[in-house]
Subunit: 338 residues, 4 copies
């Protein structure tokens, strides 16, 4: 597996890389050698990096003349000397650590999305694994190309799959309390499907309108207007899906006891009574735990920022839209000469 | 041109066609003859019918046994004896009627979407133009097939084109008052593009995932989940687009004087002063009139109901979604045995 | 009756009054005389001005040193020499002009909100009717005070009354087609009530939290944070209310014929058949015409901009909110020292 | 402290209490004795119950004749024989349990809202602490009265305070990365304030429009229309506030390491580098942890369901709104006789 590292630590967001108090907040060139380069700096929020064989490291955005030091793209092996991964830690990490039995968890097999801070301290990268070194003018393009595929996939496929699971869980929860035919519940299920299929449609459109880039290369990349739409619709839609699923799951999603308490000789029998409905208590609690994972944890802001802060997708719409042709059509229709 | 007639007058919405006080609120069979059929009843809200050469008449929805009388699909010529068109009339009709010069109007060449009430009073339809007569079991299917193409096109193409014009007009309005670079204005323009491209993407996905139906027929129809998503996103999105464009247009969109007052010897000079900004007064007023047509008139509820009330699209999501597979996936992930 | 004139024509929105090509886009001082002042300039979008006895004229916003010429507040009589009103004109104006019988209209007695462009061409104002003349430092304050009452009333009372009418009309429409008990219809009615009572609550809170200003004056003014909230919630909520009412009204709201066509000997009988449901055709059409007035006309952007563009209310939140105390509380809770 | 117990375990939501397989899913009367009553059954999701001195137990909703067994209102001491509390357990519980130092937590002093399942197993309640026993006709009223105060406070005060903290935290986060003046950040802060002050206004209106109930009792209760509006606006608004605060906090809110890792000799120095921006790393991480607590945990569905599922507040609008007067006004305005 290969993970993709874009996000630099960035420091003061108003300043360029060269202006930072400590340039280590951006991955940068320390030394050019005959056999390769030495790099330092910090990439943050790296999904799956610690579990990948390699990481593809790209610049965090466009760069200008004078910023050659940061114009780096390369591949690095997990375990290369000088490279440290510092893992995320939160309530969900603690819960997994503390539990005796994984099946007590909301997402037993896959858990949360593991990210880490990747610290490069004079890491050596041989030339054959360096793709950019100083060519600032290609940085914007390389990031944009990465984003094309990434936003389509992240917004329109990955999170659509997440939401399919949430919808499945919410329908089960409704069936287990007998509310699945109640109109407002049905409407909430419909709303989740609508939001999810909308993101899905954007991904299909992105793929469908993809283009060979550059011409003749045999490499096809998705359309970025629709890819950005996929990500942006998901960013907002996912919060709505969480809200609707949390509604259907009931207060239990938040206030439930430990799953294994059901088997406890002292409190188990009472809990079985308490949570039996049209479905048995163990299924109700299992589904509530599953929905807790998805609607009462890290997925809201995680989905929002993964593949880039939504404001960057909004910005892309200004760049990618042909406003001149829309103005021209409007003028024509209203009979305005030039 | 051929228009499509689905919507019956319907009477009491809680009752089936046979239960209505007056069955003329649904188009129905009066007599079967050797050479054809005689039909009566009323279709309402018929876009462009009065300007079309023919109209394709379909049932308004699924029918059950015992409702054979309403199971009709046929083509009728504009002008056939017994067929009357009663046109819509509203403020925009009055404005056009009263104006001396079309260029004073907000949408001078195309005007509003003209609909009419089509009254069938014992209209004769020869057999070769009759496609269904009594076959209730095909009614649901024929309407669904019509809807597949219609919702994709209406929600994902027709209104996307409308909105492209609105976006073009709003950008011009912003440029003519000098606000086009102000952040909240840019954000509103982005929001309109996002909403519009989302509906557009749904239409592309509907086309892309279209299927040959029935197999071997050579007839391909769009996917209806995505088609319904296109229509539903547009239903909501169009109101948002109207809101944002109205914001950018300013109060002028509502409070403007008559366009030709600009040339009036008495008040013209003052109006030219009043409405000159970064663009000249005549252009500002022309754009304001254009935006008035789109944001302060019939397009809100018109877009909402055209191609079917959104509640029917929501309903389709329950029918078209495979909830079993989503439940199964969720169960698998949470480790729930059956 | 007294109308209130704030909105100058404004010209290029990026420029200050003194920088405009033609200063007539702002009301300004032409001459100071012993007995009074001479003013020129243009105020736009003046609700009810032409039907009022007097107009209270205020500056359009804060002013700085060097802009004394625009620091004017005064009262002017309707009909004073040099003052011209140029009325708005739109489709709804045309409809009223063309109709033989007012009861054919959607809002027969009150019609649309009439605004006009007020052109001041060397109008004389005697000193006893001049409240500010050159005191730039009070301009911001006078406008803010006006806005306090205006936003509370406009957003939280005036439009709440409009919406009560719309809700009433929508409920009637539902009853006349027999859909009033259908869950999604009930939900839409609830949504309209919720939105409307929310704006209403903001107005009550604004009044309740009003303060004597200045202390000891006996003059109480509403709280502006809640007044701005009233206006802003209404700006968005009104579009939502229009959307929901248009949904309930059905396509008829857009596609209806002329009301008086019901009495037409030729088409009347068919129209009566067509539009009879659980309510009689004349009532259904009358309600549809009423909802057309409210949901398919000028009220969307009109409500949005009346009492100021929503962006100005948003801006006020930054000014009026005590962020320091919120930061302090947060720091305290997280145990962060200073 | 006294906690309030309304929510029964409820079992099958389609069935009345008497129809449940096991009536223990509702608190009910087991025996009437001379000195008091014996009660059994289960209340779920009880905020703060385990930490309160007493709990006021009320029926979960209106009851009908034949359901006397469930018509119970009484006070119970924490620790009374037969009463068991089974605590909630989730990731946030685990995190607190595992941490050596509370200051590593997102909400160190107050933690999460602790709820428990309260199991009544033949608990004895002396008569002087029993307020209802069998009087089904007062059950609806007693619950409604409780809800009046509860929804106003929960939606319009408690969660408004939560959100003030979130806003404070988000502003700090913005200042520590240098983005506090960027327009979209300011707009998000404004949006949070607008949503929050709207709920706040609803609570003020509810208090202001409160009535003495019953007349002459000296007991004033808040208005329930506005109280329900407070809760409902908060239910939706809180998710939006979480979304906006998560945006401003950045990916760090999700992907951050353990707070105490900052002091770790091995990884601390790198983390300090990584997360220094315009504010120091320790403050940035502390704020991120605080925002994690609020936006990436239990508060979304918790706020949604606390004080009742929003669908019950929506339902109350139908009950509390005077639709007849709105219909009458609409009819009058459109000139419709009776
Ligand atoms: C769960 C998760 C997984 C992730 N996985 C990966 C991964 O695998 N690889 C990877 O490279 N990255 C990954 N990321 C990082 C992600 O791309 C970033 O979180 C995102 O780009 C936002 O950057 P930030 O976190 O530094 O936020 P910040 O920069 O702190 O943003 C905070 C706010 O400030 C705004 N802002 C910041 N700078 C500016 C500016 N200059 N102008 C205007 N607004 C500005 C942002 O729009 C946002 O509103 C992941 C993030 C998450 C949450
Ligand atoms: C501008 C415009 C152009 C149009 N063009 C055409 C055209 O070319 N051809 C054509 O055939 N039609 C056309 N239509 C008609 C359109 O398809 C209908 O308006 C739409 O299907 C709604 O039906 P209705 O107008 O009878 O509304 P109503 O049936 O009166 O609906 C009012 C409300 O009641 C609800 N409702 C009604 N019945 C039920 C029920 N049984 N269960 C649940 N809810 C219900 C609806 O969802 C809606 O919320 C057009 C409409 C418009 C506005
Ligand atoms: C029906 C109606 C009734 C009205 N009644 C009255 C009345 O009785 N008395 C009265 O005085 N006024 C009245 N108004 C005018 C109303 O106050 C203005 O329409 C409103 O303040 C917006 O100003 P504008 O129309 O000039 O819009 P514009 O200034 O053209 O605004 C267009 C857009 O540009 C933005 N914009 C403009 N300038 C700036 C800037 N400097 N910075 C950031 N954004 C900017 C606005 O926010 C908006 O998004 C009425 C308006 C309407 C529609
Ligand atoms: C953090 C938290 C704190 C709480 N604190 C307290 C407390 O201190 N005291 C207390 O008494 N309660 C408390 N509650 C409980 C809260 O009042 C309930 O969660 C809420 O009323 C919903 O009930 P439920 O959890 O049983 O959900 P469910 O009944 O399972 O609801 C799930 C969904 O089904 C719907 N539904 C259920 N039944 C029907 C029906 N008959 N008709 C239509 N729709 C239906 C609901 O609207 C919801 O959409 C708390 C809840 C939470 C989350």
């Amino acid at each position: 597996a290969v993970s993709g590292a874009i996000t630099d630590a960035k420091g003061d967001r108003k300043k360029r890389p060269t202006q930072q108090d400590d340039i280590d907040v951006f991955v940068h060139l320390v030394e050019k050698r005959d056999d390769g380069i030495i790099v330092s700096g910090i990439k943050v929020s790296q999904s799956g990096a610690i579990g990948s064989h390699e990481t593809l490291v790209l610049p965090g955005g466009s760069l200008k003349e004078g910023e050659e030091q940061f114009a780096l793209a390369f591949a690095v092996h997990n375990g290369d000397p000088g490279l440290t991964y510092i893992c995320q830690y939160n309530a969900y990490s603690a819960e997994r650590e503390m539990c005796d039995d994984e099946s007590d968890l909301g997402n037993p097999v896959y858990g949360q999305r593991e990210t880490s801070t990747m610290v490069f301290d004079k890491v050596f990268i041989p030339w054959e694994r360096v793709f950019l070194c100083g060519e600032t003018k290609y940085c914007g393009k390389i990031v944009t190309r990465f984003a094309k595929a990434h936003r389509m996939n992240c917004g329109g496929a990955c999170k659509v799959g997440f939401a399919d699971l949430i919808i499945g869980g919410a329908v089960l929860a409704a069936e287990y309390t007998g509310v699945e035919k109640i109109p407002h519940i049905q409407d909430k299920i419909i709303e989740m499907v609508r939001l999810n299929e909308t993101s899905h449609a954007c991904a299909i459109a992105a793929a469908m309108k993809g283009r060979e880039e550059p011409k003749g290369s045999g490499v096809y990349l998705p359309d970025d207007l629709f890819g950005n739409a996929a990500k942006l619709n998901t960013a907002h839609g996912f919060w709505e899906i969480m809200k609707n699923a949390g509604d259907i799951g009931g207060g239990l999603v938040v206030t439930m006891p430990r799953l294994k308490d059901l088997e406890d000789p002292e409190v188990g029998p009472a809990l079985k009574k308490a949570f039996s409905a049209t479905g048995p208590a163990d299924k109700r609690l299992k589904v509530a735990k599953f929905l807790q994972h998805w609607t009462a944890g890290l997925h809201g802001p995680g989905t929002w920022h993964g593949a880039g802060a939504p404001q960057s997708q909004r910005f892309m719409f200004t760049v990618l839209t042909d406003f001149e042709s829309k103005k021209k059509m409007a003028k024509k229709l209203m009979g305005m000469k030039e």
